[in-house]
């Protein structure tokens, strides 16, 4: 019995005298040297490759390298630390720009409303948000110095979320429509008629419209608007939609309506206060 290895393979092994282990070790060492060499040296290999192949078919990443290769100069490099600092600064600026764009967009959208042509919208960021059974309010970072006053309407996501209940020079307190102390004149867009009534917060993230005669034909998802209020609101603005309606416990001839606000307050970052005739 004998083992035969192909003659060609034998010849090749004889010609190359480096063992497999040695070859592997040398190549590994080469890899490690390349890995820990300064990038300005190893970059030359990238540039050499880029010069080898036609540029138009390269992807965006290599095109960037290619541009660097054609215009490389000692002043064209920055340290990694500085690069990361600049990258972070650029990210911060980008976020700031995005935030400004969003505010501008909000203002532009609001100004589209004809009735509010003479109104000013003061965009404010939310400082704190208190939502519990006793109190549903938020504090915003604009105050009397920005033209804010008691009773002004506050918008979030283009819907009324509350009114200014207290104001200081630099901050203001907004009582949300869901607060039990909130009583807002509203207009329900029922199928056949607009019904003007009062809406009171229920302290559970919604509001109620009570004592509405059952002669009015209302249904779920009917829109509830904050009614016009001279000096504060020139046109109705949506507040919420009818979530449910049941006969009143004390007087079954009257509706007890539950309204769900259109705006999810907890997701809000900023609001807009309507300042009529600033």
């Amino acid at each position: 019995m004998e083992f035969r290895i192909s003659a060609q393979y034998d010849m090749a092994r004889r010609q190359i005298r480096i063992s497999k282990a040695m070859l592997f070790t040398w190549l590994m060492l080469t890899g490690l040297i390349c890995l820990f060499s300064p990038q300005r040296i190893t970059n030359k290999l990238h540039f050499a490759f880029i010069k080898l192949i036609p540029l138009p078919i390269l992807n965006a990443g290599l095109r960037t390298l290619s541009t660097a290769a054609t215009s490389q100069s000692p002043t064209g490099y920055v340290s990694r630390r500085l690069y990361i600092q600049l990258e972070n600064h650029a990210a911060n600026l980008s976020a700031e720009l995005d935030d400004t764009h969003k505010k501008l967009e909000t203002l532009a959208r609001l100004r589209d409303r004809f009735a509010f042509e003479t109104a000013a919208f003061v965009v404010a960021d939310i400082i704190t948000l208190s939502i519990n059974a006793d109190r549903q309010e938020l504090i915003i970072n604009r105050g009397r110095a920005d033209g804010l006053n008691h009773g002004q309407y506050v918008l979030g996501e283009n819907g009324v979320i509350g009114t200014i209940s207290d104001v200081s020079t630099g901050t203001a307190k907004v009582m949300l429509v869901t607060d039990t102390a909130s009583r807002l004149p509203v207009k329900i867009a029922a199928s056949d008629v607009y019904i003007r009534w009062k809406m009171q917060g229920n302290g559970k993230g919604g509001a109620n419209i009570r004592m509405l005669p059952q002669k009015y034909k209302i249904k779920s998802a009917d829109i509830v608007y904050a009614d016009k209020k001279p000096g504060f609101l020139d046109a109705p603005v949506i507040v919420g939609r009818i979530q449910s309606f049941d006969p009143d416990e004390e007087n079954p001839l009257l509706w007890d309506i539950t309204v769900k606000p259109v705006c999810n307050i907890e997701n809000l970052i900023s609001v807009a206060v309507i300042v009529m005739n600033p």
């Binding site: 083992f3 192909s6 092994r13 592997f24 190893t42």
Partner: protein
Amino acid sequence: MRWPRFVVFILVITTLQASIILDWFAVTNLNIKPDLLLVVVVFLAVRCRSYDAIIISFVAGLASDLIGPPIGPHIISFGILGSILAHIRGLVIINSAFHQVIAIFLTGLLAESLSRFLASLAGQPMTANTAGIIFGTALYSAVIWLFLGWLFTASFRWISIKRHPIRTIHR
């Protein structure tokens, strides 16, 4: 093995890997693309003589590093895993398409994880969703083998790879 042809072949694959052509086949918002060089390493490592397989793995690693800084991580990771594959092919049979797909997927996971780790040692920042990119690339590379396996096989025939010697018993 015709080494000049192999060099041409590896240059073509590297150019293809770095080209916008592969960008057209990128999937998901993570821009996951198949790693053609990984496929080459796995296939040649299980087909070639182990001596050639070691050289091929390191060369393919170098080619992979040429198209994405820094130089070094893929040389080491492809080199190690290609050599291991060449070493274990006597123990594990990787002949059927299914076994090759599994081998490409596992090698892709390990090679890319190792190269990312080595790159981080060299001071390269980790990108977001690294795990997702590694998994996606390995999976896509394995899947692409199912569709383009015939093309690779034809190319390997062109570069005349010599299979590792089979010991025969003569009575």
